[in-house]
Symmetry: C2
Subunit: 647 residues, 2 copies
């Protein structure tokens, strides 16, 4: 059920779902309502008048009886249950000018879910492990073929299976298992990457167990590890779980993990804890779906280069040393058990290949999961997390790079930056007249800090309202106590200490903004550089895939305003979620992925941006909001011009 | 230095090497000299007169001064150091008739040693593991390929190596080892069976170690395990060692081992002890050649089906149960370490495939080692040990069978049968007149029993002299106390108790002879059956390869006389020694063997003789000396006729 909300005097209408809070509807509509406390109702600043219809709640001690009679409610506490008309009180002359500004509604990327059903339609639902039920002829005096020969010949004759290898563990169990149910067995076959190569018979069970064939897909993130259990008969995800990577206690980012790995038995310790986290997740998803560990025939794994090497006990030492060389790209199929995973003796572990020290298996998995390598359209794939990796290309060519963006988008290097957790300011508006903020936090609680997506909006709004200039410097002459100089650094007070959970003023400083601009510049100029190296320009990008948790919250228009994303129709920007996990899942479901990944690896050109001559120029030119060359952002240019004219 | 020995009154001359004893020279020449004590000099019966020239020693207390003056010496103690003329005293009228018999000189098979040098000439000296010294370019800011990619690309470009797989253990060691000697390394490559398939990089060492690349070849016999260390640079065998299979304590033959394996942790125990024997041999041959265990890149193994399964911890239970099904034919390449062998982490174990429960990897290795699968000539390959296996064929077809010969040729099932060890009667003659024996034992000591090769000679001589008839029954009317009936069983006293080490008369009974005839019949009729199944006859066999320790001692003429071997020119019979070990060594030296073995396995037809209708008729017809159909043995027929006429 949706309702229409009309904001006056702006005369701005927005349609919101039943149960939305009024303050979020206002933010969505681009209507500024003063609000500092993040939506918890304690600052009492977000007073609005309900002129038509009614809202649920919205009543607090901050409103007296007189207020209530007049229809005043607190926007942050009001729940929309019908069509309503809301008047936002205009409390000063200056405020009136705000009404002239054309609001831009918050627009996040369309969420794209891959269509796994179509795999089946296309006959591509061919997992790398397959079960076959077989009723073998029983041996007799005149037919006493060895057990393996009986099995292999039967598969050859009746199932057109050739080039089969029977592993020693299977040979060991074969004599008893064949005779357990009268030579009726289920064989598990591990498929080769390339058709025509050897298939391995990795397991034999008595009777028909073809109903129970499962795979696990796992994304080994630096921060979080995600696992999914997949039914290989239907392709369904039966259960999923996530947990913090146990390695976090030994360092937040990959570099600190590598440093730790170099000390004493540090590498063994990091291996142990990551495997322990993985086993916890495995145990959980198996238990939830009532699947036994030896019913999982395969586990597909993706992770960045450092996570992959630590998991596989390959020393990551040289990843952080110039010239930044990883140990390997491609890992052969491995035994899950030999890696410490508590799965069947036969369970195969397939590990996504790495491209370079800072473009790892998670990105390759993302490219595979997104399908960009099969597309005609020139696509930009972006995974912004602790680091930012970009891939540009299509079915004909691919180029990738790791951008030294740093962790600004995860709140790193920002005075009050924080991860997107409860209490993080995730949405923000600034009143162009009063310069008062409108803060909305995750969980509608008192603010603790600012998360990455909030930061983008904050910088964009400050830039649009002229609070900061295109170099990120504050306008020193705006006459508000929110902009101040502390210890030689200029800053904007986002929330006063009494409106926070931390008992200190939450501020955004010029140094924060500088760090933030450097981060976005690294990414944007990275894209420009990759394109320039193949003779193309950034305007030619036809669509963007955003991966990683961050991508789903980014206000696309604001990301363009600050020059993080190239300007384009927001319809062409999709959020594909945890594409590393998606890629892992894809490769558990269709062996085609493993065939294609070889091509992708060959097609992919990795650029070390620091070694690419044009990069530095592009980077320096990007150290502006949105860019030195404003013509790269025509819509932003037009909007800014419009604002200037109106002010 | 060779000398001529003329025996009188036989007028028989023989040429023998310097240092030969006179009694062995006589035996070789077919000249009977009474001798019961085996050659130790205690019976004093082998008195001869040296008429010309002189011998060393030959003087004992059995001869008085008068005897010595007349030139008497004991033949068993006389060492030939020059040309001599020897008179054998004729002590009775009857003896004279013996002189009319045409003696047949002892003739053992020509020993064939494979010509490994020719492998090199033919470009076939291509071991399954190869070392390559590589000087890789060092990484730089503009060339920061992953370590594996650097290695693989270099091999591709500079050594035309394609389809390389780098194993996880190698990936783990690669970063440090590459940087230890400035990116100068030696890579060990494990070759695929078929050209064009994947090669595995299994080891990386710093610097140039191509000089040190070794293989171990091992024959896992039921009784004895043999190992050889091979230098893969030259093909030379650097050291070898043998030891009794530790499993002997748990049963003499494969059946008793299987029975033991079925009880409690019997299989684990048998695995443990065989691996322990193997490790002892490995340690010994490595130490002798001053080679480190991780310098052995590969170990090639051959053994019969039961030995192979016990070593690989594959339950042999069904090998001894009808319809006698082994677990597997082909085993994939394995890691030596995972099998319990104390070799390098990377050392590959290549195990010869099995054909059936009783035609195992030792026979396949023999076929490969003998080269019969590449020959034009129709060849019979025979390995007579605890069991007897035969292979017949050539480059176009191959058929094999296990013959239920039992252990008669190893002394089993014979009252005084024993293995070919010190004290075993290995050569024998019977005086056609006196019916006195001439026993020669291994080590020239008092007799303890009769070994297989001695038994063949004994039965043949008794048959030729009419002591037994063609059914193996004693002629009851020969008037000698050596032939007697004890507890309803007729027997011949080979040595009186005082002439033995065991303090009992050593006899050969009719039951022994019956068992012996059954054993030889099983083998001969097996050959006939295989040939008949492909429409051929036994007379078409062009050559015979005898394998196993037994084969080198067999008196070929006698083996034909009793009908064990088909009659043919003895020049066409070769002894190829431990062909199982030979095959293992071959496959360590040329990968071509592994390619060929696949073809051989496909070409080979295994016959279960008990299930082959024609077998029983052939078998029954063979239960005679030499055969019901004497025309199959024309030379024996002629010789017998000759004897009859003379007597």
């Amino acid at each position: 059920m949706n309702y229409n909300v009309l904001f006056l005097p702006h005369n701005q209408t927005i349609t919101v779902p039943d149960g939305e809070t009024l303050i979020r509807a206002a933010m969505e509509a681009g209507v500024h309502i003063n609000a500092s406390c993040g939506g918890e109702g304690v600052c009492g600043k977000c007073r609005v008048i309900i002129e038509e219809g009614s809202v649920e709640e919205g009543i607090t001690e901050k409103l007296n009886k007189d207020d209530l009679k007049k229809g005043y409610r607190l926007a942050c506490k009001s729940v929309i249950r019908s069509d309503i008309t809301v008047r936002v009180p205009v409390e000063s002359e200056v405020d009136a000018s705000a009404l002239k500004m054309k609001p831009t509604a918050r627009c996040t990327a369309r969420i794209v879910q891959p269509d796994f059903e179509s795999l089946k339609d296309k006959g591509l639902f061919t997992p790398p492990v397959e079960k076959k039920y077989l009723e073998l002829p029983k041996p007799s005096a005149t037919d006493n073929l060895p057990d393996t020969t009986r099995l292999v010949s039967f598969l050859k004759i009746n199932h057109d299976e050739h080039r089969l290898v029977v592993s020693l563990p299977v040979i060991r169990m074969l004599p008893e298992i064949l005779r357990e149910k009268d030579f009726k067995i289920t064989a598990t076959l591990a498929r080769p990457v390339q058709a025509g190569r050897k298939s391995y018979i990795i397991r034999i069970e008595p009777g028909d167990t073809t109903d129970r064939n499962y795979a696990i897909a796992m994304d080994i993130g630096t921060t979080t590890i995600y696992g999914q259990l997949i039914d290989l008969k239907t392709g369904e995800v039966l259960s999923e779980a996530a947990d913090f990577n146990g390695q976090i206690s030994y360092g937040e980012d990959v570099i600190s993990r590598i440093v730790f790995a170099e000390k004493g038995d540090g590498m063994a310790k990091l291996h142990e804890v990551v495997v322990s986290t993985m086993n916890k997740i495995i145990e959980k998803i198996l238990r939830r779906a009532k699947v036994k560990k030896d019913e999982a025939s395969t586990i597909t794994l993706s992770g960045n280069t450092t996570m992959t090497q630590l998991f596989l006990q390959v020393n990551p030492k040289y990843i952080r040393r110039s010239p930044y060389v990883p140990a390997a790209t491609i890992y052969p199929p491995l035994h899950a058990r030999s890696l410490g995973l508590e799965l069947g003796d036969h369970t195969e572990a397939l590990v996504y290949p790495q491209i370079s020290s800072y473009v790892g298996g998670d990105i390759v998995a993302g490219v595979m999961g997104s399908g960009m390598y099969r597309a005609e359209a020139l696509t930009l794939f972006m995974d912004i997390g602790t680091n930012a990796e970009i891939v540009i290309g299509n079915k004909d060519w691919l180029a990738c790079a790791a951008c030294s963006a740093g962790p600004a988008f995860e709140g790193g290097g920002i005075s009050f930056g924080m991860r997107a957790a409860r209490g993080a300011i995730e949405d923000f508006s600034i009143h162009p007249g009063t310069l008062e903020p409108m803060n909305i936090t995750i969980g509608n609680v008192l603010a603790k800090g600012i998360c990455g997506s909030g930061l983008i909006i904050m910088v964009a709004k400050m830039f649009e309202t002229g609070v900061i200039d295109n170099q990120g410097k504050f306008n020193r002459n705006l006459g508000t106590n929110r902009i101040r100089e502390t210890e030689d650094i200029w800053e904007y007070v986002v929330a006063w200490e009494e409106e926070t959970q931390i008992g200190r003023d939450i501020v955004l400083t010029e140094v924060d903004i500088e760090n933030f601009i450097r981060a976005k510049a690294a990414i944007y100029s990275g894209c420009q550089t990759l394109l320039a190296e193949v003779g193309l320009e950034i305007g030619m990008i036809e669509r963007i895939f955003l991966a990683g948790g961050f991508g789903s919250y980014v206000d696309l228009e604001k990301a363009m305003t600050i020059g993080l994303l190239p300007e384009m129709d927001t319809e062409k920007i999709s959020f594909i979620g945890n594409s590393s996990l998606l890629g892992a899942r894809m490769s558990a479901m269709t062996n085609r992925i493993r065939q294609d990944v070889g091509d992708v690896m060959r097609k992919m050109t990795n650029f070390e941006l620091s070694e690419t001559p044009s990069y530095m120029d592009n980077y320096v030119a990007s150290l502006f909001l949105p860019h030195t060359d404003i013509d790269l952002f025509p819509k932003v240019k037009a909007r800014l011009k419009n604002c200037d004219m109106k002010q």
